[in-house]
Symmetry: C2
Subunit: 286 residues, 2 copies
């Protein structure tokens, strides 16, 4: 017998992973949640049939969504993670001893419960005493906060379904308001390669540019996401992502990483011309 | 009716592209050659069922295998391309007016003929008067040359089947001999992500390190290759790939590119820690 998980990366492109067995399948109030075990990627989590993370390559996504902003703002003490119920971003954040408090706002309690049970690799640090989990809508949560956070990490699903509100202009504006005067925000921002994803990326970028004085895009190689070329948004009130980045200060922290390093930090902001063109289309004079 | 081309990226991972129709299928003396047309990627070429190039993303591979070495050695006059019968590397090379002669050594004449007919996007510059095509075994061709080339581009298939000899120590040693005293060589070097590819990458890197005083690895996002994270080897007698790279000199050439730019050049050599570890395993003290 052969069992294969297949995700359509576009209408005309499929990515398939052989599965040993399905470990969990459930329907929450918000979405379908599945956990599979696979020979190539270890355990992996899907939401509504879309790949969220695999044990083999989640380190790339989580290191890049956390260490890039933390290396620019190493004095961050209070961090908000929106989405990210798998705990991977929180795990990387807890490695910074200077962080005093992490608020994790995940709309779907069932995602956290399932990840705690099946994915201790990512969820294992959710019990850190600095972490508070709020089972709420991130859009509503952030609306109520003002001048509180040093860093907001938007670790959302795709810009449709439960994650849709986390790609709106209102949401980015509220994140701006919730940040301190030198605060910054990063978000997962889809892929530039397939037109269907690139349009979502452009729309998100336009809205962030309209909300923050500093707005850049960076990239990583994430093999299990569509095209493998994944983008993150870096939005900031004050700090520039490469000019205000102190490589030696980050190195002194002594954090062991498997993807991120200071050269990757700089290289991640070096975008291919075709990606720069997509950004210029929504940000004239970039 | 739905028609899908599927490639196994590993025993447990499949990548599938919907096909409008098969335009060509033939068996040469060396390999099976197919051309398909697809809604997402345009026309694409496979050899023995492995993806070689698609019209949509071939620019990434060909720009990165040509402009990186040319930007380090802009005075290159005589270039050897081994493999690359699709003509994509030659197309990028012909844009440099300083290049006086390009030798293309392709073992399989049928690949060139099929690409001329179905893929003018890549093969269209094979008629440039500076190009000489040799239908020979690259391993034998390079053995006979000494102190002739400024640049050798090894645009091979995977390290099994017809391309196998282009990953041997003897071949790299002969490339060294065929290069002038300031010459350099680049090669496609597989992916670091899946263990089956990473082993081939490590083996090639070890052999190049043993043959050249300067040996580095660089990367690009190529969505239709396994994992999307693709590596190239940069081997040189004299020039360092980033320290001897003059960004403003390259910019003055005025070449329009869709992926490559001087910041990408530097960023491409910034490797993730896990890739650096793989290289250190075969190159102690790196």
């Amino acid at each position: 017998m052969e069992l294969w998980f297949t995700e359509k990366h576009t209408e005309h492109v499929k990515f398939s992973i052989q599965v040993d067995k399905q470990l969990y399948s459930g329907q929450s109030e918000f979405q379908r949640i599945d956990i599979f075990d696979s020979p190539e990627f270890g355990k992996f989590l899907t939401l509504d049939g879309y790949m969220m993370l695999t044990e083999k390559d989640e380190f790339i996504y989580h290191e890049m969504i956390v260490h890039v902003p933390m290396a620019v703002h190493p004095l961050a003490k209070r961090v908000l993670v929106i989405g990210g119920g798998d705990g991977g971003a929180v795990r990387e954040l807890t490695r910074y001893l200077g962080i005093e408090r992490i608020d994790l706002v995940e709309i779907d309690r069932q995602v956290v419960d399932v990840c705690r049970k099946y994915l201790p690799q990512t969820a294992g640090r959710l019990d850190d005493p600095r972490v508070s989990i709020h089972y709420e809508d991130g859009l509503k949560f952030v609306r109520a906060e003002e001048n509180v956070y040093d860093l907001i990490i938007v670790d959302s699903t795709d810009p449709f379904g439960p994650g849709e509100g986390l790609f709106t202009k209102e949401f980015y504006g509220n994140c701006f308001k919730a940040l301190k005067e030198d605060g910054l925000m990063v978000n997962q921002q889809e892929s530039p390669f397939y037109p269907v994803d690139a349009i979502a990326m452009q729309r998100a970028h336009k809205r962030i540019v309209d909300s923050f004085p500093v707005s850049r895009v960076y990239q990583a190689h994430i093999p299990t996401y569509p095209s493998g070329h994944w983008l993150f948004g870096f939005a900031s009130k004050k700090y520039h992502p490469t000019e205000d980045f102190d490589a030696s200060a980050w190195m002194k922290l002594g954090l062991k990483t498997r993807y991120y390093n200071p050269k990757i930090h700089i290289g991640a902001f070096a975008l291919p011309n075709y990606v720069k063109t997509l950004l210029e289309e929504v940000e004239p004079g970039r």
